[in-house]
Amino acid sequence: MKTRIPALFAGLVLGGSLLLVSAGVATAVTPPSGPSGKGVCTTEAAAVKAGASVTTLRAMGDCEINRRFATLDQLASRVSGSKTLTSSDAAALTAEIGSTKSGLTSLKATIDAETSIPALRADIVKIATDYRVYVLVVPQVNLVSAADAVIASQTVFSKINTNLTARIAAAKAAGKDVTAAQADLDKMNAAVTAAVGLASPLPAALLPLTPAQYNGGTAGPVLTGARTALGQARDQLKAARADAKACRDALK
């Protein structure tokens, strides 16, 4: 027993120390915040511009990769915390984020081991061209999230439809003219149908896009088209909400 108590105490002290150390490390290596880390690598870029060397190029490469890690972590948190993403879309996005991060981790190891300036320059270019975090992955996550949110709104509007239909029936039974209210409700339902119709095909079109397709010029138009369609879908949903309120007001 005499030997056990000091051993236990030592274990607790060691465990606590490890916790403190790991917390300190986590704080020390926390990637830069912000949706894209814009401007984070300005100093490193300026150093390369002033005089490209293995050290300055490596620092710039590491910085660019780290800010992408920060962005990817934010995206991963957003996907895992989403209440509107379907499970399959969330899984696909999580897998894409994971593979992108894995690839960038390998590239970082390559950059850290590289000693040739031309090779380092080529590796740094790959950070952008091979992964397309900001012009492809980020829009993919956002647009698929928006599409699934539009689709999810159908459930809410369905409940609104049930509620308003009952009110209209009650008002009609009471001898009230419900023509305007019914027209508003019909408009609401039509707007929701249109919005869902715009959004439904988008995840299947967006999720398979690759950096190679972006580099080849075929992914960009898909992203642009999806953004336009989702803007229209959002407007339809806003109109649907206004129709629902108008329907309720018409019954007062």
């Binding site: 894209s36 397309r132 949110a149 609104i160 953004r227």
Partner: protein, 118 residues
Amino acid sequence: MKRPVSSITRLTAMALLVGVAAMGCARHGGGAANGPTSSTPAVEAARTETAATLAPTPAPTTADVTPAPSDATPSTGSSSVPAATTDPLDTLLSNTDALLNGIDSSLSGSDASASAGE
């Protein structure tokens, strides 16, 4: 030397016990006017039965208690607390607001030009 002392102690103790018992019996049985001091088995049985009859009813166990319906409305709770009057439609419309805000946020975040370039 030890054995005589032990025997004397035992004898004394026994004598004391017998004496105490005899005094107790004499008091419990009362005098000659109250009848015999020693009770028969029949009398003992009657006493036990009477005591059992007069004993307080044991508290019911949980297994004996019929549970109240779970959907029973509390008589005091519902009358003292005013019912919530939130219109379900307001809640649903608020839900659409939240969804639309999320869509707006996603759309603004999807704009590549708004983020740092590659």
